[in-house]
Every structure is written in structure tokens, then in C-alpha cells.
């Protein structure tokens, strides 16, 4: 009788012939992240993974907290693995569920008989175990519609599993299963959320941050490190590229019309990001833009920014309201960090009246006054690389 963590596959259960590849990536992620708590055995079968700790005294609560941040899982439960024998199930379920059932007032039993060789049908298991539990915990009443605790018995090929309420998994697809993309991270609320959303779709992440010392300081970059550490708890390792941006911002400020400052700056960011992404095997860029949120994110401005690059740009927040983004940022844990007040590259030299309907032709004309290629080359030559790993 061992206690294990039963992890339910999310969407990848719907995959066809390549499902194995996804499952392997999921197991690999679980193995790596859980290794800090000791050795584990993983058994994947029937759209679930049973993670069994090998040593004694493994902190399963800590393991559950780690699993809650693994993309590709839809449900997580601590469960007791027992032989497929109704006698044993009855005997073990009573003490195993004591903690949860004494704190509850209503319960129901739910049975899933995947192994049809088991002699009792699912309804029979429910009735049988329900009676035993009611006997052992007379304060309980049965409520099949809205119980405090749903006791689940799963008869699988490998063993029978008994568990109480199941926790929600993080959803999405296993880290890295969709390839890799580069997220532009400023330090604001939106960009880490955008990166997180794309990581949930199975993208591994690189991150690109533009720093403008001395206008921006060490605190601003430390803030980006902290933000990415939160995202990396979900996405896994993030390779951060810090681009020196001062020369470019000063050149725009000195040579271009003030109202076009932001839009030209963003075009530079996109061009540089595309090159970094390309050199690091990333197939797309990720930004936190949302239509109409600020002057640089009007439809016209987005068109101008988008025209600067040919790589696909993923903007998962494009149709979201700010409060939805904030709610997600709170959930991921980035909100409190994002609202720290340090100046970042996007707030340096902000024009008083930025052009909200920029016309590409005029933007390109203004840009022509700059030695675009040289500025981009200088910036790329000065890029620093930092590995952000929340599980090392």
C-alpha cells in the first residue's frame, strides 16, 4: 500500500498516433521537477500518470504543489494504490480518508472501472464502499449532487486507486511540446501573462528584455528576472536575452518626430527580437499587446509594428480586457512584481502626444533618418544571456 500522486492528462489525451511523444515530454518534465524531492517511478497508462515516490518520507504536499504548475495535466490527486480486491479497498479506504472525511459533512462515492475484469460494476462499488464509509463515519450524510468530498475509486490495469477531491491541473500541453518562441518582456503586467499563456500551449520560452541604462536601473532588470522566475515555474527554463537599448532610444529621440517615438522604438524591438529569436531556434515572437490598450497598441500602430517583421507574432492578450489580464497575473504570481514602480525601457522618453493613427509610409520615412542596420547591429553585439531556471 503506497500513497502516490495520480495525474490526469489534459488535452493530450485527445492526440492520435503521436500521443506517446506528448506523454514522454510530460513525464520528462515531471521527472525533472519532482527530482528535488527524491526519486520517483512514473507509470503512464490510460490517460494518466501515477507518480510513486521511491524513498520513505517524501513530502507529497510539496510534490502536489509542483505538479499544479505542470502544463499538460488536467487533474491532480493524492491517492492510495491498493491491490484490486474489494476487501482491501474497504479496509484501506476508511483510515486513508480519515482526515478529509472527518472535516466534511457530505460525501459521495464515485467509481471508475477501467479494468472490466473487476468483479463488481461501478455502481456496485459505490454502494459497497459508501455503506462502509457511512458506518465508519456516522456524522456523514450522502449527497450525490453537491458533496463536500467525492471519494473516488479507480480500478485501473495496474492497481486500484482511492482518493478524495481532485485538484485542477494547469491545463494546456506539456512544456516544449509545441516548439519554442521568444517573448518580449518589459516589466509590465501584460507581457509575462502573454508568455505564460503561450507556454501553456506547449511552447518553450526564450525571453527578450530591452534595457536602457542609465535611464533604467539594476532594479528594473532584477524585476524582469523575478517575473520570469514566476513564469519559469510553469514553463521550465527560460533563456533571457538582455538587449542594450540606450543608443537606439537616444537616436530616435534626437532624430525622429516626438509623436512617432514609441512606434519607431517598437519596430526596432521587433526587428532585434526577430533576429535573436531566429538565432535561438524560436519559431515565433510573443508580445502582450491588446488592441487599443495604449497609443502603441491601436490597430494602426499594431499594423506598423507587425510590418517590421516576417516571423509570426503571437499576441494572446489581443482580445482581453485589462481586468482579465490582471486576474491571470495574480494567479501566476506576477502581478505584485509587475506593479513595482521602476522605470522600464517603454516609459523612457514617452512622448506627450503619441500618434495613435500612424501611417506606415511616414514612419518609414522618419526611420530612414537613422542608420537602422548599424544601430541594430550594435544592439545585437551587446546582448547578454541569462538562464532563468526555477527548478535548479
Amino acid at each position: 500500500m503506497t500513497e502516490i500522486i495520480l495525474l490526469k492528462h489534459g488535452e493530450l489525451a485527445l492526440k492520435g498516433l503521436n500521443r506517446r511523444t506528448f506523454e514522454d515530454m510530460l513525464t520528462k518534465t515531471l521527472r525533472r521537477r519532482l527530482s528535488v524531492l527524491g526519486g520517483w517511478r512514473f507509470a503512464a497508462a490510460q490517460s494518466a500518470v501515477a507518480a510513486e515516490p521511491l524513498g520513505e518520507g517524501c513530502d507529497l504536499d510539496a510534490a502536489v504543489r509542483i505538479c499544479e504548475k505542470v502544463f499538460g495535466l488536467s487533474g491532480i490527486s493524492r491517492a492510495l494504490a491498493v491491490p484490486k480486491d474489494m476487501e482491501v479497498i474497504r479496509a484501506e479506504a476508511v483510515p486513508y480518508l480519515r482526515g478529509q472525511l472527518t472535516a466534511a459533512r457530505t460525501f459521495k462515492v464515485n467509481a471508475k472501472r477501467a479494468d472490466k475484469r473487476f468483479p463488481l460494476t461501478s455502481p456496485e462499488i459505490c454502494v459497497d464502499l459508501g455503506a462502509v464509509l457511512l458506518d465508519a463515519y456516522p456524522h456523514l450524510t450522502v449527497d450525490v449532487h453537491d458533496p463536500d468530498i467525492t471519494v473516488t475509486v479507480e480500478i485501473r490495469d495496474s492497481a486500484a486507486y482511492i482518493h478524495g477531491n481532485q485538484l485542477r491541473g494547469a491545463g494546456g500541453l506539456p512544456p516544449g511540446s509545441s516548439g519554442k518562441a521568444a517573448a518580449l518582456i518589459s516589466g509590465g503586467i501584460d507581457s509575462p501573462v502573454a508568455a505564460w499563456m503561450m507556454a501553456r500551449r506547449g511552447l518553450a520560452l526564450d525571453a527578450i528584455h530591452f534595457a536602457s541604462p542609465p535611464y533604467t536601473g539594476e532594479r528594473a532588470e532584477m524585476k524582469v528576472h523575478s517575473l520570469l522566475h514566476k513564469v519559469a515555474e510553469y514553463s521550465g527554463r527560460i533563456n533571457l536575452h538582455v538587449v542594450p537599448f540606450t543608443e537606439i532610444q537616444e537616436a530616435i529621440k534626437d532624430n525622429c518626430p516626438e509623436e512617432l517615438f514609441t512606434i519607431i522604438m517598437r519596430r526596432f524591438m521587433m526587428v532585434i527580437s526577430e533576429k535573436i529569436a531566429h538565432n535561438n531556434d524560436c519559431g515565433a515572437l510573443i508580445t502582450g499587446e491588446s488592441v487599443g490598450q495604449v497609443a502603441s497598441q491601436t490597430l494602426g500602430a499594431l499594423v506598423c509594428t507587425d510590418c517590421a517583421v516576417s516571423m509570426p507574432v503571437f499576441r494572446p492578450l489581443i482580445g482581453m480586457d485589462k481586468d482579465e489580464t490582471v486576474a491571470l497575473a495574480r494567479k501566476i504570481g506576477t502581478f505584485e512584481i509587475s506593479v513595482l514602480p521602476y522605470e522600464d525601457c517603454c516609459t523612457v522618453f514617452t512622448p506627450r502626444h503619441p500618434r495613435t493613427k500612424p501611417i506606415l509610409k511616414f514612419v518609414e520615412e522618419a526611420e530612414a533618418r537613422l542608420d537602422f542596420d548599424r544601430l541594430v547591429g550594435n544592439a545585437l553585439a551587446g546582448v547578454r544571456h541569462i538562464m532563468i531556471d526555477s527548478y535548479s
Binding site: 541604462p213 542609465p214 535611464y215 533604467t216 536601473g217 539594476e218 532594479r219 537616444e250 529621440k253 534626437d254 513595482l340 514602480p341 521602476y342 522605470e343 523612457v348 522618453f349 506627450r352
Partner: protein, 384 residues
């Protein structure tokens, strides 16, 4: 070479304090409440630190209570006095330029039904005396006014507070936040007519983690002492005003730092010279406006480099090893409430720098800052 010019945020530790801290961590590490010799030795260190502090404050050592620092002293003073005094009234008077640990504490009291009067300041950052006289009435239970403002160095008219309280015949206690003043000017609570006074170790080259609250009469009825209730409950340390095992390394360091303080007048003379050098230097840089009044404590000089953002300037100077701030470190990058309340415009507030000196400041540090500011004006693009 580094030029550390943010001594109002914290100060480097002096060798005397460093040795005392080390001693308390390595050999004399007992619990001062223990009955055996190891405890008695620690107790002796604590009491010697208390006597040093009392000597400087010109009070009895029984009137000095150790805390964890300025914020805690201010909180005990404000919350503890309000609780003890609430049967006499609900009116509390503070200035609009107090440190966050006073401002936030009275904000909390406001939600508990106390009436908080925040006195405005003039363009010099000083509370006008007539406002004090008009504000203090018979139902006033506490007036809290800082001795020296932490952001601009303005000295506040504490003597007017005493007169106002006496003439109003109220039972108001007077608290003085002397965290920035202690060691720099004479702050003797009995001479100033102050009932409660907060001081902190790390602003006078001591370690972080120790502060003290002066309480007139040492909480003793027979000495006609003032009443202050604790804000934390536990053991009987510090007469139960601040329970919990004493942070002995910090207290030992506090005592040593107090002993190492040079006489106020000798320090002031040197700092005045440095301040003159600073002011003359700053006058050679274009676009500098002075936010500190000319008669401010010379340790603190607040300026604005109009057209530039404080944060950009701080980062620029930081890269050259020159450390100044935009205001209170407890505000961490927020725009200064003090400067706003002095009536300064946004352009002045957003470009403010606070330069604060200590006895370890050298003339070269000042020169580095001046050159740094000149370069900043040459290299940094203005915001607008």
C-alpha cells in the same frame, strides 16, 4: 572610489559598533533575562548601551526602551499613546511631512475612530507655528512632530508644540520623531518638553535592527510618568513595552555607536564646510533648484535637476559609484509626498534628489557628485 551620499537612508557602520556587534555574536551571546552569569554579562551590555543612550538624550536610563528601530518606536509611540489616552479625547495632530511610520500609523487610527489633523507645511517644509496653536485643543491627546524632516532637512518648531499644549490645558502627549536629528543636533527630550522620542541605531553608524523610544518617567507612576500601552504582548522585556528577547548584537552596536558619536558642535562645523562645498558646486551646474531651505540641517540637501527624472539620474550616478536617493528609502521609488506638500510642482518633485552627508563623507565625494551631475546633464536626454 565610491561616494555614498545617502546617509539619511542608512549609514556605514563605525568600527566601534562593528566590534561590539561581533563581540555580542561570538563571545557574549547570552540571553539577558537568564539568571546565570552568561545572562548577567549580556544584561550588563544592554544596560551599558541604555546608559550611553540616556547620557546623549539627557534623561534617566529607565526612560529609554529598546525597540527594533525607528518605525517600531514611532508605532509604539503613536498607537500606544492613542490607546492609553483615548479616554481623554480622540484628536491627534501630526504634520503632513512625517515619515511613513507615523503617517500610516495615524491612518490606521483614523479607521478606529480617532480624529487625525494633518498640519500643512509652508514652502520650506516647516509647520507654521500659528497652525499648531490653532490645532491643539482640549480634546487633543497626542501631537507628533518630527525634529528634522528626513527628505529636506527642515527643522520643525517643537517648542511651539509644547507651548500650544500647555496653553490649551489639554492632556496631550508630545511625540518627537528624532530619527534623523539624533547625533546631528542636540535632542534632549526634557529640555524640549517632549514626552516621547524615537531614535534609531543605523542612522548613526550603528547596525540595523535596533532603535529606542524615550518615554518620560519610564512608565513609572511614582515618577509621574506618561502612559503608553504596548502594541505587542509577551514577556516582560523592556518593562513589557517591547516584549521579546532583545536583539543583543544590535543593541550592543547601538550603544557603541552612541559612544563613538563626536560632540554635536564639532560634527556640525565639519558638515557645514561640506555643505558649503556642495552648494557652491551645485551652483556651477545648470538647472539645479534647491528644495531644502537655507537654514535646513546641513546634513540633508534636497535639490531638483529640472527636466530630468530622479530615477534616471540615480541610475546614471549609480553606474559611477555615486549613491543618492530621490527621497525616503521607505517610499522606494514613489513620488515624494513631502515635496508635494511643500507645494512644489510635478517637474520639481519628479526630478528631486536627496543628498545626505555623514561624518565619513569626504570632500572628494562631493566633487564626484558635482562632476557626475554635470556629466548627467551632458549625456542624458531630457524627458520632454
Amino acid at each position: 572610489m565610491e561616494a555614498y551620499l545617502d546617509n539619511s537612508a542608512t549609514t556605514p557602520i563605525c568600527p566601534e559598533a562593528f566590534n561590539a556587534v561581533t563581540e555580542a555574536l561570538t563571545s557574549n551571546w547570552g540571553n539577558p533575562s537568564s539568571l546565570y552569569r552568561k545572562g548577567i554579562e549580556a544584561e550588563a551590555v544592554r544596560e551599558s548601551a541604555r546608559r550611553s543612550l540616556a547620557g546623549r538624550l539627557g534623561c534617566e536610563s529607565g526612560e529609554v526602551f529598546f525597540t527594533s528601530g525607528g518605525t517600531e518606536s514611532n508605532n509604539i509611540a503613536v498607537l500606544g499613546a492613542a490607546e492609553a489616552q483615548k479616554r481623554f479625547g480622540r484628536r491627534i495632530i501630526v504634520s503632513s511631512v512625517e515619515h511613513a511610520s507615523i503617517d500610516e500609523a495615524v491612518k490606521f487610527l483614523e479607521t478606529r475612530g480617532f480624529e487625525i489633523i494633518r498640519l500643512p507645511v509652508d514652502s520650506q517644509g516647516r509647520v507654521p507655528e500659528d497652525r499648531i496653536f490653532r490645532a491643539v485643543n482640549q480634546g487633543t491627546i497626542l501631537v507628533s512632530l518630527m525634529a528634522v524632516n528626513n527628505e529636506v532637512g527642515t527643522l520643525q518648531p517643537l517648542e511651539a508644540v509644547r507651548q500650544a499644549v500647555v496653553s490649551s490645558r489639554s492632556r496631550a502627549l508630545i511625540h518627537c520623531d528624532a530619527v534623523q536629528a539624533f547625533g546631528k543636533i542636540d535632542v534632549k527630550p526634557s529640555a524640549m518638553g517632549v514626552d516621547l522620542m524615537s531614535v534609531s541605531a543605523h542612522k548613526i553608524h550603528g547596525p540595523k535592527g535596533a532603535g529606542a523610544l524615550y518615554v518620560r518617567g519610564g512608565l513609572k507612576k511614582e515618577k509621574n510618568g506618561v502612559r503608553v500601552l504596548p502594541v505587542m504582548y509577551g514577556g516582560t522585556q523592556e518593562s513589557s513595552l517591547r516584549p521579546g528577547t532583545e536583539p543583543m548584537p544590535a543593541i550592543a552596536g547601538f550603544g557603541a555607536a552612541v559612544n563613538a558619536l563626536p560632540p554635536v558642535s564639532a560634527s556640525l562645523e565639519r558638515i557645514n564646510l561640506l555643505r558649503q562645498r556642495l552648494v557652491c558646486g551645485l551652483e556651477t551646474v545648470d538647472g539645479i533648484e534647491f528644495n531644502s531651505p537655507p537654514d535646513a540641517l546641513p546634513y540633508v540637501t534636497n535639490i531638483s535637476v529640472v527636466g530630468y527624472e530622479s530615477e534616471n539620474l540615480i541610475n546614471f550616478l549609480s553606474e559611477r559609484g555615486i549613491y543618492v536617493s530621490s527621497g525616503s528609502a521607505c517610499g522606494k521609488g514613489k513620488k515624494s509626498r513631502v515635496l508635494k506638500n511643500m507645494g512644489l510642482g510635478d517637474d520639481r518633485v519628479s526630478s528631486a534628489l536627496r543628498i545626505s552627508l555623514s561624518r565619513y563623507t569626504a570632500p572628494e565625494h562631493i566633487d564626484m557628485l558635482i562632476y557626475g551631475l554635470r556629466d548627467a546633464r551632458n549625456f542624458l536626454r531630457t524627458k520632454k
